[in-house]
């Protein structure tokens, strides 16, 4: 069984690990290859602060001023991707740096199953008008005295547009930018000022913090995640495709659940293939 997974962000690598762990013993041999144009530290995942926090759903009363306190988890994108890469490499999964131009190309290359985890760039493989970039910019600073995350919400302007401060393993991430449809990969000085002013108002001690870097990333925004199968047929080539993209700003928060779901779809594919291999008398 030849499986090609496209994309090496958190969705790609976790889906690969999940599928490998569940099916490598059942499928001898399971050849799993990962194709990606970008690897850590250049993926969208690497830019994320990684705070586990599901989206607030539903409107809140504008008049309300309240706050809540909770303990959460941080999944640091860069470190997590490195760890996932180590686990996959241990298991013999091979990585290939290449830009895939089409799903058909991968099918013609001999893949039986293609797993599409191309995130915000999925539209290049197959047009998807529902998928848009939700551009974000962040500043990373050294401020080791900060031990709490602060998220602010302004229901009028929408999610991620209000300043946030998220301490990570080494640096603190400052953010608050969300621009739908903006594909500019360059750090904007206007956005820098917005982030800096907003965060300093929340945490005055930031004036003592040293800047460690500034980054831009594109949240793969979609009204809902595309997690489904598709049968691909191009001339003589055919392949089963599993799409797993469009996780917006909550990819790290939800990645493992989605990987499990994708693995379930993979399992279904295996069942169907087994049926087609069974001798007629068993039907």
């Amino acid at each position: 069984m030849r499986v090609v997974l496209i994309g090496a962000g958190v969705i790609g690598l976790s889906t690969a690990l999940c599928i490998y762990e569940r099916y490598h013993s059942a499928l001898q041999p399971l050849e799993l290859k990962i194709y990606a144009e970008r690897f850590t530290p250049l993926t969208t995942t690497d830019v994320a602060a990684g705070l586990w926090q599901p989206y607030l759903s539903g409107p809140s009363t504008p008049q309300e001023i309240y706050g809540w306190f909770n303990t959460s988890l941080i999944i640091e994108g860069k470190r997590y991707l490195e760890w996932l890469t180590e686990r996959l490499t241990e298991k013999g999964v091979k990585f290939f740096q290449r830009k895939v131009e089409s799903l058909e190309e991968v099918a013609r290359g001999g893949a039986d199953v293609i797993i599409n985890c191309t995130g915000v760039w999925a539209g290049a493989l197959q047009p998807d008008p529902l998928l848009q970039p939700g551009r974000g910019q962040i500043i990373k600073v050294d401020a080791p005295w900060i031990k709490h995350f602060v998220l602010t919400h302004d229901p009028k302007s929408g999610i991620y547009t209000s300043p946030y401060i998220i301490p990570g393993m080494q640096a603190v991430t400052l953010g608050g930018i969300f621009q739908l449809g903006n594909w500019s990969e360059i750090n904007s000085s206007q956005d820098h000022d917005t982030i800096w002013k907003g965060c300093c108002r929340l945490e005055p001690t930031l004036k003592n913090a040293r800047t460690a870097g500034e980054y831009t990333g594109f949240r793969p925004v979609r009204p809902q995640i595309r997690l489904e199968r598709e049968r691909l047929r191009v001339g003589s080539a055919k392949a089963e495709v599993i799409h797993n993209y469009g996780h917006g700003g909550y990819g790290l928060t939800i990645h493992w659940g989605c990987a499990l779901e994708a693995a379930k779809l993979f399992g279904k594919i295996l069942e169907e293939k087994e049926l087609s291999w069974m001798p007629p008398s068993h039907l």
Binding site: T71, H148, M169, Q170, P204, N208
Partner: protein, 341 residues
């Protein structure tokens, strides 16, 4: 009005904060800190500086609570100000956990710290050998930064620092009018107080910047306090032990106990060992008296014996000491109005 000359013996958190409080309360005074040790070589410098009170058996609970609240409020405003980093004060949340349900489930200081609540079953799962816990947000006062910051404040108000070992308080006369004794454990010899004795504490200072919560065993023997520049792992409470050198076996034991609570500590690096002798006393001695020798009078205010709780109550305690000093100053300035001793 003559300038009253005040000498404060001791440059730990008690000496320095008392001096600052005096400078704010008493007009027309000069303050000199006289000490054989200054930061980073004081007992305070070894302390992690987490604000969790230690109970003094012989000091009224209401007084301890007042001191703690005043200290907490004072450091809280510092933590929210732009000076927080210069002063070394920041908020810290975490858990205090117990192997068996304590008799006092809600401590006297529960309404002073922020967000105090009992831990949920889900939270306790992180600590398999523990059955009960408190979760709250408190402050951490990094003494290695706070003490220099207090020294700076003092100097900007004209205060002086004098490095000198005092064997007898009378050495300070006639250069000074009032002596404030903040000599901590040194009072055992300096003023012959056998009630103050050392409780040895050894700690490890490690690099583990991913830790953002404190974890403290309710017994106070094992604790993990993440700070701005390192994480403090503790500890020991060895009564009557004067040994200031770190013990390797003890370090291994501390590390092992802390790793049990927080396994990720196995990846911690850059370990430094430190030892401090807590100036233990059944109650804090906060008392004024006038010493007399050969016709000379020396007003003295004692302010020492804070044991494990020095940083937690320092500001409230210093305010009270400053009030005692103020009374001594008034007595000096209007001798006709003072009543008999």
């Amino acid at each position: 009005m003559d300038t009253v000359r005040i000498a404060v013996i001791g440059a730990g958190v008690i000496g320095l904060s008392t001096a600052v409080c005096i400078s704010q309360l008493v007009p027309q005074c000069s303050i000199t800190i006289v000490s054989d040790k200054f930061t980073p070589h004081t007992t305070s410098d070894v302390a992690a500086g987490i604000l969790i009170p230690h109970e003094y058996p012989d000091t009224p609970i209401l007084t301890q609570k007042r001191w703690f609240r005043e200290t907490f409020d004072h450091l809280s405003s510092l933590a929210s100000s732009a000076e927080a980093v210069d002063a070394g004060v920041h908020l810290l949340s975490g858990w205090q956990i117990f192997r068996s349900i304590p008799t006092e489930q809600v401590p006297f200081w529960a309404d002073v710290v922020l967000g105090f609540r009992k831990m949920t079953e889900a939270e306790l799962k992180k600590f398999p050998q523990y059955v009960f816990g408190h979760a709250f947000t408190t402050l951490k006062c990094e003494t290695s930064v706070y003490l220099p910051w207090l020294e700076k404040r003092l100097k900007s108000h004209g205060g002086l620092l004098l490095r000198r070992r005092i064997e007898d308080v009378w050495e300070l006369q006639p250069s000074f009018d009032i002596v404030v004794n903040c000599s901590g454990l040194g009072s055992r010899e300096l003023v012959e107080d056998s009630a103050v004795s050392p409780v040895r504490g050894q700690v490890l200072q490690v690099q583990a910047p991913w830790l953002k919560h404190f974890i403290r065993d309710g017994s106070g023997l094992t604790y993990i306090y993440p700070g701005a520049s390192h994480v403090t792992l503790g500890g020991t409470r060895q009564k009557g032990d004067w040994n200031l050198s770190p013990d390797a076996e003890t370090s291994r034991d501390i590390f092992s106990r802390c790793c049990t609570l927080e396994p990720s500590l196995h990846r911690a690096c850059s370990v430094k060992e430190r030892v401090g002798l807590r100036p233990n006393r059944p109650s804090v001695r906060l008392q004024k008296e006038v010493l007399v020798r050969d016709g000379w009078r020396l007003p003295i205010v004692h302010h020492y014996g804070h044991g494990s709780g020095g940083i937690s109550v320092h500001w409230g305690s210093a305010l009270q000491a400053a009030r005692l000093v103020s009374e001594c100053v008034q007595a000096l300035r209007s001798p006709a109005l003072t009543s008999k001793l």
